[in-house]
Symmetry: C2
Subunit: 188 residues, 2 copies
Amino acid sequence: MKNVDVVGEAEDGRHLLEQVAEHRPDLVISEFILPDISGSDLAQQIRRRYPGTGLIFLSSSADSGHVRVAMKSGASAFLTKSSEPVELELAMRACGKGQIYLSPSVSRRIIEGRRAERPEGSAVLTRRQREVLRLIGRGKSTKEIAQVMGIGAKTVETHRARLMQALGLRGIGALTHFAVRHGPASTD
Amino acid sequence: MKNVDVVGEAEDGRHLLEQVAEHRPDLVISEFILPDISGSDLAQQIRRRYPGTGLIFLSSSADSGHVRVAMKSGASAFLTKSSEPVELELAMRACGKGQIYLSPSVSRRIIEGRRAERPEGSAVLTRRQREVLRLIGRGKSTKEIAQVMGIGAKTVETHRARLMQALGLRGIGALTHFAVRHGPASTD
DNA sequence: ACGCGAAGTAGGGAAATTTCCTACATCCGT
DNA sequence: ACGGATGTAGGAAATTTCCCTACTTCGCGT
């Protein structure tokens, strides 16, 4: 790939942060599970100390809990070992533009009802949340959604809030964007 | 197509409205240019008197001014004579779900800088508006956009407002949805 | 049967955003 | 030079979002 220089490599989180401090890279690619610090701590530290630095996580599993905390901590992308190699390039591109990239295998698992291997109390969406997400993905407002679903606007807000919580997103725009891109039944 | 009954046909706007009054159809398909009343008047009347009735416009040109007023008046879809026949079906489906459908040839023209044949002071987006639309399509918030573009948040809001004005949309969600679906350079 | 956690529903109130309107400086074409 | 289009932004009101809390069901495991 053009315009890419590898400026450092590291065995664990501490060395990784040292490398980052020294080279100030545009992008960091790391395993989510590290020997010393957690991926989310790593993300938060990089995010806080070097905002603007992209961070792509690789993980052996698509555990939705991991994905959730990673994205909440400011990661730019989350790939799994089952991701196609080309996805890394996609993720890097997205990252370079400040976008977020979730491997399809990851977003699909989160959105559909399936739990990760370990049903560890995780961020899988509920039926109602998926319904709301679907409507959001069509550009509907809170009120419209409330109307369509026959529930109160306040309730829709609650669903929406939990959705953002679960997906590690903030703001209607980001949620709509996610819903259109990854949402359930976007074509029906 | 299944589940479709044609309950009436009409030569002009007045007869069309009579037919609508009589049959209360789910969907009305009409030329945008009619001999007696304007398409936007037609849309407004149908919208006001029979909310819930879908309205698909066909037009010989993709004049962005027409599209703008049509969508602002509550139309569900806008197709041109250069639209593929299958698009009508797509539009009907979208319509049945309360979604909006714009023929690609229409949305493309509106979004890209090209004017319609007649550069009639119309709703083509300006360079700045397209930049904002592009960022919105990535789920960016007003503040983030302001930051990235190096202008004030208030200015972004103005651009956004004009964007919604031009596209006949209301609300951040709808605009984000539009931007992701039709937005400029969604892949770059 | 009982209790418990997850899911769905909703309200209050503060905080943030959006909307609406206005204003003004540029630039550009006639 | 004038007029329109474009880009910029401010004030104030109106909405919407956000954050927390709470109550009710429902399903499930013991």
